[in-house]
Structures are given as C-alpha cells and as structure tokens.
C-alpha cells in the first residue's frame, strides 16, 4: 500500500532499494539492543564516577583500558602495512581532537546528568547529517525531513526552556572551591559568562560537541582508509590519546585504584562493545536502519534507567572519598515533563531523519516514451549546484550596492542605524534595562523597511528577463507601496497604544529616555539630510534618463521628438521606493522629537498626559503623510493613465485622429511602468491605401512627444478584418468582427471598398 502513495520515482518499481526483511536481522537487532542498554548503563555509571574522579583522569583511564584491549585484539603494529611519519602526525592531530571532543562530552555529562547527555549527544552521523542538510542546504529532501529537523530543534528547545531541573538551581551557585582543575573552572566560567544556568550551558555545550563529533567522524574517514580500516585507526587513536593525556594525568594525582571494577564495566560497555556491535550492524543492516533502532533503544533504556537508577555507586564512593563535596540531601537530575517530551520528540526526530529519503527526485518532464510512460530529466540537481562562495557573493552585492547613488545612500544609513541599534542593545543588556532592549528591537523592526528599500533599489537594476519583460523597474513602486503599508501599520499601532495610554497614563521613567532619543534623533537627522538630497536628485535624474531613453529609441525620421518640456509636472518624483524610505526615516525622526518634547514636559511640569498626546499627534502626521505615497503607488500598480501626462496624451490622441489616412483608433492604453518607462498600446484603423509604416512612425513620434517611450501600435486596415473573419471560423467572432468593421464609418458609404 505504501508504494501507491510513495512519491519516489525510483523505488516505486523494482529499481529501488530492496529492504531486507526484519526477520533475518533479528539477531543483529537484539545485539544492538543489548549493546545500547549496556551503553546507557555505562553512561549512568560514569556520571557517578565523575563525581569523585577528575575528568581528565577519567578519560585517560578509559582510553588506556580501551587501548590495551584493542591493541591486544587488533594487533595494529604487527598486522597491516607500516605507518609513515606523516601518518603518525595526522594520527596525533586526530587523537588530540578526539580527546577534546570526549572531554567536552563528559563535561557536558557532569553538567546535565546522564539522561540528557544520552538524548543530546548520542545521535548517529546519519541523523545529524540529515539535520544539517535540511538546515543549511536547499535540497533537504522534502517536507518530512523538514519536519524531523523541526522536531529535533523543538526537542532541544524543550530541554533548554521547559526542563526545570531542581538540581540545577542549586548548582548554579556552585562554590568556587568545587572546581579542582583549571580546565573545568575555565569551562564553568565560560558557561557562566553566557548567563545561563549550568544545565542549560551543558545542553548548549553538548549540542556544539555533537556537531563537532559528527564533523570529526566525517573528516576522519579519509584517515581511516589511509591507515587501513576504522578498527585499526580506533585502536591507534586510543593509544595515542593516552600518551597525549599522560602528562596532564601525572599532574593531577588522585587515587582511583579502588574503582577498577566500574571502570572496567564502563570501558567494556561504552568504548568497546558499542564500537564493535555498531560496526557489525552497519555492515549487516544498512546504516539508516541501524541508526534508527540504535537511537530508539538507547533513548528508551535511558528513560527507564533514569526512572529506576538508584545510584548504587554513590554511597560507596562517598564513603571512599575523603572529603564529601556535596551534601547528601541533594537530588539528582530527575525526570521532568520537559525531558520526557523532548525524549519523545528526539525519538520521533531520529526515526524521521534516519529514514531513507522517500521524496522523489525533482525532475523535469522531457517527453513521453513510445509506450506512453513519461520521461524525466534528473540532471538538473547535479548541474545547478554551482554555489557561490559566501565572501564572493557579499563582495559582489556590496559592489552593486555602492555603484548607484540611491542604494549607496540607503546602505550607509542602514549601517548607521544598525550600529546604533546594536550599541543600544548591548548597553541595554549590560545595564539590564528592559526599556533600552525593547527600543533596540523596535529599531531593528524599523530597519526591516530599510532592508526592503535597499533590496528594491538593487533589484531595479537587474536586466530584463523572460518573465520580467520590461525590466525590474516596477519593483521600486511595489516596494514603495509595501513601505507605505508598513508605515500605516506602525501609525495605527502607535495610535491605539496612545489612546489606551490616554485613558490611563502610566508612570514613565525618564532617566534613560533622553540620551537614547537624542541619539536616535541625530541618526535620523543624518538620514533625512541624506535622503532629502537623494530624493530631489533621484527625481531629477529619473527625468533625465527618461528623456535620454526617448531619444535613443526615436527612429529618427522626424525631428520633433524633443519633449523636454514635458514630464516636469510631477512634483514628488516617481521614485516611490526612495519616497517610502524617506517617509520612514521622517516618521522615526518625528518619534524621537516627540519623545524629547514629552520628556521635557514631564520633567518640568509633571504632565504625564503629554506623552500619549505627542504620540497621537505623531501617528496622525505619519498617517497623513503616507496617504499620497500609497495612492500614487496604487495608481501606478493599477495601470492607470499617468495623471501628469493625461492632458498631453489627450492632445496627442486628437492629433492622431487628424493624421492623414487614420480613420479611428481604439483601445488606447497608456500606463507608467516604472519611474522612467511609460508604456502604451494603441490600435489604429487606416484607410486601405496608405502606407502603414509611415503612419506608425508619425503616431510614434506624436506619442513620444506626449511622454510615451515604450509603444506598440497595431495598424489595421479593412483587409485585416476580412482576414481575421476568414481565420476565425466561429460565428460569434465573425459577428463581432463585422460589428467592428461597421464601426468604421468610412466603410459605410462604400468608398473604401477595393
């Protein structure tokens, strides 16, 4: 049944992957289950051990024990080819990185407890790579993968936000004496600097180290081929990292000889058994399925253990260690609702992400085979992946932005604005002032309008394509329209807010307001200066360019195509984009001025009501100033005949009627396409004995005088209607044509017939 609905082109027939039935794999699945349960046990135990044993020492012991066993089994020195000096150096690097990763992992373990570590850290490569490809590439593999990624992220967020672990609150005020090494202390201070609780820091740490681990695994694949097998690499790696860690361990002396047994257990379950079982299962089953089962088993056993684990070692350890560091009343990392939910989400996310991609490849339909089955072309995916490098892209777009006056102006102002915003935000976080932070966010919100304007200013210069056949000039007008709507929204919010405040004026703390608003005012004044210049400048330039355009398109036979006296009638300039941005900056300036005035009034006279009144006033001003922009842009978008040209066009049409040979015209449409292009179409009916091309030229010249610089003229004679009625066999069409012909009054008296 699944096949019927699967969207996979390839695997729906006999072509796809053949899944091995589960029955044959039962052995391996059971093996996997056992190893995962043991691993969960080992992790729980090592959490207890880590309370007394120093972390570096702990890792050293693990690596050492592992290395001894592996060297014994794998015999990396006696078998295989000899290892060159360069490979040894690579091995050294490899093992240093692996040490760092396991250090981070186990440190995360001490922070968040075993269950959360299992949930966060023990994902297989397949899952994480699928997750990353969904997040950072466009070809994630369909909505189901996206859902899986979303589940994963939600699960992590659940752990971060909704997991109120009681122990954590206690550990947050960790006494300084607790840290017994410089390393742990540094990590602690780093996490404390982030300003989150310890276990949240642990969650972040674990996520980061998970990504590191996956990247490391992927990178070390090449080395493992070079060395001769993953197992040999693993053995050697453990050995080398022992040696790397040795000097440190000697410095940190403490006794661990009493803990041989648990260490042996951990080494066996976490380091060795899991490694071997994993490699066998991946060989026998395919990797995705192995990953799916493995993570499900691991998480479930982790949940079970978290419920029933009674910390058998803790008592023993506490008696053994001479200085019990913590009170015995402490509770461990317990199960909470958040953890439970996130565990469920993690299981779901893993099973979705590790399932092989069911989504069919996107192909383009090429045609049909003789049998009638459709043929597709799958080449596209492979060929279109010529991704630009990011720095190059930034450089290119910066160059484009700085080329033209408008976009340069917007860009500089945007930078200024962003800088101000970030200073404000940082200062707000520094002094813990909520007002500043929210004002910073407000500024960011405003910046989005600027970004829109910048983008539109960039787009207008793109070349015309098949879809945008007139060029992208119209984007500017659309962006002006959107900016106008944006301002309306803002004005309305301010209005409603101030009305509610008018009813109940709140107490305002004016200390912080003045410097911020003065700063904002200064920034915005700079913007106003820049844009008002750009404003007039841009308008003038657009006029010029439109006339240049007109000249270059003239076909040159008639001399009277100079229309420089036209087109100056429109006052505001048609660059709606710049107008929108300008209005935005103006609104911001008004806001700052309002804040300053109301602050002064409140300070001097204690009029709390001054603030809402100011904002009422400002919002009305914004609203009124936006309306002309909106109506202008809407008229252009609706393809209205440009009002400033209307008179000229009417005169031109009258002239056209008087041209010799023209009987009448119909369907005259003229509209402004963008700031510099006014397009038009017109149909002319001619007498049958005039030369069409001459009429076309005359009409084009007349309309060019009226400002239309992108014109198509359809010239129809009587013969056209006859041909048309011949070509269209439908009765109604012919009828319509006949009526059209009759509308040409010259035909009525039969002067024109043949």
């Amino acid at each position: 049944m699944d096949d019927k609905y699967s969207s996979n082109v390839l695997s729906s027939g006999q072509l796809g992957m053949v899944e091995v039935p589960n029955a044959r794999l039962t052995r391996y699945i059971v093996l996997l289950l056992v190893s995962k349960v043991l691993k969960a046990l080992g992790i729980f135990e090592s959490y207890d051990l880590l309370k007394v044993v120093h972390i570096v020492q702990f890792i050293f012991i693990l690596k050492l024990g592992c290395a001894v066993i592996l060297v014994f089994f794998q015999k990396p020195f006696s078998s295989g080819k000899a290892i060159s000096k360069r490979q040894w150096i690579k091995l050294l690097k490899h093992s240093v990185i692996s040490c760092i990763i396991s250090l981070l992992g186990f440190f995360g373990l001490t922070l968040c407890g075993p269950l959360r570590t299992l949930l966060l850290f023990e994902h297989s490569d397949v899952v994480v790579i699928a997750l990353l490809s969904v997040l950072f590439t466009s070809s994630g593999g369909g909505p189901s993968k996206t859902r899986g990624a979303a589940l994963f992220i939600i699960a992590v967020i659940c752990l971060l936000l909704f997991d109120n672990d009681d122990l954590m609150a206690k550990m947050a005020e960790h006494p300084e004496g607790h840290h017994d090494s410089a390393l742990t202390h540094a990590l602690y201070t780093a996490i404390a600097f982030l300003g989150v609780a310890d276990h949240k820091g642990g969650v972040v740490l674990l996520v980061v180290s998970l990504c590191l681990k996956i990247g490391f695994h992927t990178a070390s694949r090449k080395l493992s081929v070079e060395i001769g097998g993953a197992k040999r690499l693993y053995a050697l790696d453990n050995l080398v990292s022992c040696i790397v860690l040795l000097p440190w361990v000697i410095v940190v002396q403490s006794s661990w000889s009493a803990l041989i047994l648990p260490f042996g257990m951990i080494i066996f379950s976490v380091m060795i058994l899991e490694f071997y079982v994993e490699s066998i299962c991946i060989a026998k089953m395919e990797a995705p399925r192995c990953a799916r089962y493995g993570s499900i088993f691991l998480f479930l056993s982790g949940l079970l253990l978290a419920n029933f684990w009674t910390h058998p070692l803790t008592e023993q350890l506490r008696t053994m260690s001479k200085t019990p560091q913590q009170e015995s009343t402490e509770t461990e990392h317990v199960l909470s609702g958040g953890v439970l939910v996130s565990a469920i989400f993690f299981i779901m996310a893993d099973s979705i992400l590790s399932s092989p991609s069911k989504k069919g490849q996107k192909g383009t339909l090429v045609g049909y085979s003789p049998e009638g089955t459709p043929l597709y072309n799958f080449m596209g995916d492979a060929l279109q992946h010529t991704s630009q490098s990011l720095p190059r892209f930034i450089k290119d777009s910066l160059k484009q932005i700085l080329e033209e006056y408008d976009s340069r102006q917007i860009f500089y102002f945007l930078c200024l604005n962003l800088a101000f915003t970030f200073v404000e935000l940082f200062y707000g976080v520094w002094t813990n002032s909520l007002g500043l932070i929210s004002d910073g966010f407000h500024m960011l919100f405003d910046c989005s309008a600027l970004v829109l304007g910048l983008f539109a200013a960039l787009m207008t210069r793109w070349k015309a394509t098949r879809i945008y056949s007139y060029g992208y000039g119209r984007v500017e007008i659309l962006s002006g329209f959107i900016n106008g709507l944006f301002l309306m929204v803002i004005a309305f919010f301010v209005f409603v807010e101030s009305v509610t405040r008018l009813v109940d004026p709140p107490n305002i703390n004016t200390d912080m307001l003045t410097p911020v608003s003065v700063g904002g005012l200064l920034v915005n004044l700079v913007g106003i200066c820049a844009f008002s210049h750009a404003h007039s400048h841009g308008a003038a330039k657009s006029n010029c360019s439109s006339h240049d355009h007109g000249h270059s398109h003239g076909h040159g036979s008639h001399g009277h195509s100079h229309g420089s006296s036209h087109g100056h009638s429109h006052g505001g300039g048609m660059n709606a984009n710049m107008r929108g941005v300008f209005l935005h900056v103006l609104a911001d300036t008004l806001g700052s001025v309002g804040v300053i005035i109301s602050t002064i009034l409140i300070r001097q006279f204690g009029w709390l009501i001054a603030d809402p009144i100011c904002s009422l006033f400002i919002s009305t001003l914004i609203f009124l100033s936006v309306i002309p922009l909106l109506t202008d842009a809407a008229e252009v978008l609706l393809l209205r005949t440009p009002p400033e040209h209307e008179k000229d066009l009417n005169i031109a049409l009258e002239k056209i009627e008087k041209v010799e040979g023209v009987l009448s015209y119909r369907d005259p449409h003229f509209w402004r396409h963008s700031a510099s292009v006014i397009a038009g179409t017109i149909h002319l009916q001619l007498m049958s004995d005039v030369v069409e091309q001459r009429i076309i030229q005359q009409v084009t010249a007349i309309l060019k005088d009226a400002g239309v610089n992108n014109l198509s003229v359809q010239v129809e004679k009587e013969a056209y209607f006859q041909h048309m009625s011949g070509l269209t066999t439908g009765f109604h069409d012919v009828l319509a044509m006949t009526q059209q012909m009759e509308s040409m009054n010259y035909l009525k008296d039969g002067t024109c017939i043949m």
């Binding site: 049944m1 699944d2 019927k4 609905y5 699967s6 969207s7 082109v9 369909g142 909505p143 189901s144 859902r147 936000l161 909704f162 069919g360 383009t364 339909l365 909520l434 929210s438 966010f441 919100f445 015309a464 098949r466 879809i467 056949s469 007139y470 119209r474 659309l478 709507l485 929204v489 309305f492 807010e497 309306i627 909106l630 109506t631 609706l638 393809l639 209205r640 369907d667 449409h669 397009a679 049958s688 004995d689 030369v691 069409e692 076309i696 198509s712 003229v713 359809q714 129809e716 013969a719 056209y720 006859q722 041909h723 009625s725 070509l727 066999t729 012919v734 012909m741 017939i753 043949m754």
Partner: protein, 459 residues
C-alpha cells in the same frame, strides 16, 4: 498592548463611495449576506480584541489577526460587489480587474506585517515573560475558529479563492499533504478526503486553534507561560507561510510579469508565429496578466519587405489570440519606402506566381522546433528555461494548467480552400455581403490551379 489591529483601508476614496452605494449593495442578496457577515465579524473581532487584552496572551492576538484578515477580505469583496454593480470606475477604464489583485496583495501584505509585529513583540516577551491568564483563552479560540470557518465556508470570496488555488503551495500545505499521504498509506480509505489540495485558510485556522489549545493545556497544567509566546511565534510563522505565496502571486501580477506557467505555451505560439511566411523576427514581446487570469500583451513583428502586413497581422493575431486576449501587434518593415513604392507601381496581374509564393502560400508548415529557435530573437529567450517543474504524485504542488484548444493551430485556411465552399467564403458572402470580396475569392477559387494567390486583393 495586545488590543491593536494593524489593518487600514488602503483606498480611502472608495469608502466615501461605499456609503453612497450602501443602498445599492443592500438591494443585492449576495452582498447583503456579505454585509451581515462583515457585521458579525466586526463584532467578533471586537470581542476577541477585548479578550486579548484581558488574557494578555500574545498567541490569541496573533490568532485574532486572522479574523481581522477575514474581515478585511470580506470588506474588500463588498466593495467589489458595489463597484461591479455600479460603474464608478471610469478612471481606471478597463483595468478594473486589477483592483482585485491590488486588494489581495494589500491584505496579504498587511496581515504579514501584522505577523512581523507579533514576532517582534514575542522576541521582547522572551526577554521578560508576563503572566498569561487563561480564563478566556479557550473561549476566544473557539469563538474565533467558529466564526472564521463559518465565514470562510459560507461566503465565497472570488479573488481570494482564485489566488489560493493558483499560487504555489505554502509550507503548511506541503507538510499537511505529506503527512496525509503517509496516513493514506496506512488507511487508504481516507485518500479522497486528505489527498486533494487543502484550502490554506481553513488549514491555518485549524492549526492556529490547535496550537492555542495546546498552549492553554500547558499553561493550565504546568504554568509554562513561555508556551504562549512560543505559540504566538508559531502562528506568526504560519501566517507568513500561508500568505507569502499569495502575496508573491498577486505581486507578480502587479509587477506586470509573464506568468511562468504560460511561458511554455507562449514560447510555442511565438515559435509558430516566427515560422509564418514573411515573418523575420519577433521581438519586444511583453505579456502580462491584467486581472486574475486574463492575459494581455504587445509584440513587435519584423517582416520581409514584400510581405503583406495585414495578412501577417491577421495571422499573428489569430495565433496568439487563443492565449492572449488583449493583444497589440506592431508590424515592422525595414527600409519600407522603396519596396512599398515598387509593389504599388507593379500591377498585381503582372506578378509572377513565384514572387507571390512567399507571401501567399500561407499554409504554415508544421512547427519545426529545431530550426526556429534562432528566429525568435532579441529578448532573452532560453530554450531550456524552466518547463513546469515536476514532482511526482505530490498533490500539493501543482502548476495550474491552462488548457489550450489543441485543434486551433492546425487550422490553416488553405484547407478550407481545397473544399471549395469553405465556411470562410460562405460566411463572408452571407454576413459581410461585400461583393468585391466575394468576387475576388470566387475568382481565386475558380482558378483552382493557383490557390496560393488567394487573399491578395487587388488594390
């Protein structure tokens, strides 16, 4: 702070007219219903906004915006009914249909800006989470859901329905389609219910209500106030996801772009045009949608010096007329003064048939794609430009096919000629009753041996 709604009417002047047209509107039954629903919606929105401020819940505010969006689209449709009924659109002449497009665009953009505002507020709330009172939360949710679904399902809003069907699918739709496909894999009986494309408005309403109920549950049970903010963000993102494709679609119409789904057909037609006898090249082709669905365009055709302009014009128009309803074709001749004089100087009877062969044997050859690509020049034209993208079996993403009457291009009228009494001639003789014309054709037909001279009228 939650009691605000961001929507303004964008066309002030129409609202003045609205009051004039009120009587007119109430006379029509359909618009009367719309009006009643709008009133209901206003009432409901007012209640919801009050509850928003009393519960202090961001998520409910976000959900209320959807209601306001509904109200908005209702109001627009009332205006349209009024405008259609009473022609007060003389300024906008025939471009009236674009008003619908602008309305759809404005309302979708406004609701997205509202969602942006919600996102901003939510970020501020993440910094300091205020208490949320759950008292009216669930009631508000269900009232809003009920009204939204009621208005959605009972009042057909034509432009919005069109856009929601024509625009590409939103991510919400895609996910639901994917989920329901896998569900259908388990229970095949559901396929008729779940597999067709979902209405995005219904979908977002239901999803929003769902997330609000989850919020209510979590706040009631565990007092997680942050859930409210999180679900506000989720609803905001869903609003973005749903409205974005629609605003892109209507924005593209406003930008006068060639709709990408007809590009293939247009190319085919233009290729045919460029293979017509006498046509040298087709250039400056501009096609755009005026309202939803109606295509307009202008094209310049350069022809040979000795070709008959009216004939070519008629053929080009006839070809493109099937797809482009409002068409302007400008015929172009290089160096037109000399040849036209020559052609006029020569009496028609002295022309050798071979000279005519060019322009009058107008039976177009079947389009050969291999040779004509280079004849279509001057505007960037990629033969490999995206043919409709294809993805197997996904019901969500379907490109709206435009059905082209297949028979049309293969109707050269030379065929009619061979039958003698073609509908062409009979029609002309009956309807037009132009003796000269009839005689001309009759003569040509009578000759029979030289059918290619047909259509050339003696000047």
């Amino acid at each position: 702070q939650g009691t605000i709604h961001p929507f303004r009417k964008t066309h002030r002047s129409f609202f003045g007219k609205l009051s004039q047209e009120f009587r007119l509107v109430t006379s029509d039954r359909q618009s009367w219903r719309i009006l009643v629903f709008s009133m209901l919606n206003v009432f409901c929105t007012g209640c919801l906004l009050m509850w928003c401020s009393s519960t202090n819940s961001m998520a409910l505010t976000a959900y209320t915006y959807l209601t306001i969006f509904d109200l908005f689209s209702r109001v627009f449709s009332v205006i349209f009914v009024c405008l259609i009924a009473h022609v007060c659109v003389c300024v906008f002449s025939t471009r009236f249909k674009r008003l619908e497009v602008l309305a759809v665009f404005a309302s979708t953009v406004l609701v997205q800006l509202g969602a942006l505002f919600i996102l901003k507020e939510s970020v501020e709330r993440f910094v300091e989470q205020p208490e949320v009172h759950t008292g009216r939360l669930l009631v508000g949710t269900f009232v809003a859901l009920f009204f939204n679904l009621l208005t959605l399902l009972s009042v057909k809003n034509k432009p919005f329905v069109y856009v929601s069907e024509a625009a590409s699918t939103s991510w919400l739709q895609e996910h639901v389609a994917d989920l329901s496909r896998s569900l259908c894999g388990i229970i095949p009986g559901l396929s008729s219910v779940l597999l067709p494309r979902m209405n995005p408005f219904v979908l977002i309403n239901v999803a929003g209500a769902l997330s609000l109920s989850i919020t209510y549950m979590l706040i009631e049970i565990n007092n997680y106030n942050a859930v409210d903010t999180a679900s506000a963000v989720a609803i905001g993102l869903m609003i973005f996801g749903t409205m974005y494709p629609m605003s892109v679609y209507s924005g593209k119409v406003l930008l006068q772009t060639t709709p990408s789904h007809v590009i293939g057909q247009l190319d085919k037609l233009l290729r045919e045009v460029s293979t017509l006898e006498g046509v040298l090249e087709v250039r400056n082709e501009h096609f755009w949608t005026v309202g939803f669905g109606s295509l307009a365009g202008s094209v310049h055709v350069r022809i040979r010096r000795d070709a008959n302009e009216q004939m070519v014009l008629a053929h080009v128009t006839n070809r493109l007329f099937t797809l482009v309803s409002t068409l302007t074709v400008q015929i172009f001749k290089d160096d037109w003064i000399r040849p036209s004089l020559m052609a006029e100087a020569l009496p028609a009877s002295t022309l050798r048939p071979s000279d005519y062969g060019g322009l009058s044997s107008f039976v177009p050859p079947p389009p050969k794609p291999s040779e004509d690509i280079n004849r279509l020049t001057s505007t960037p034209f990629k033969p490999s430009s995206p043919p409709p993208e294809f993805s197997f079996n996904t019901p969500g993403r379907h490109v709206h096919p435009v059905v082209l009457p297949n028979t049309q291009p293969q109707r050269p009228y030379g065929m009619g000629l061979s039958y003698g009494a073609s509908p062409y001639t009979s029609m002309l003789n009956q309807d037009l009753a132009r003796p000269g014309m009839g005689i001309g054709i009759g003569m040509n037909l009578g000759m029979g041996a030289a059918p290619q001279r047909f259509g050339r009228h003696p000047f």
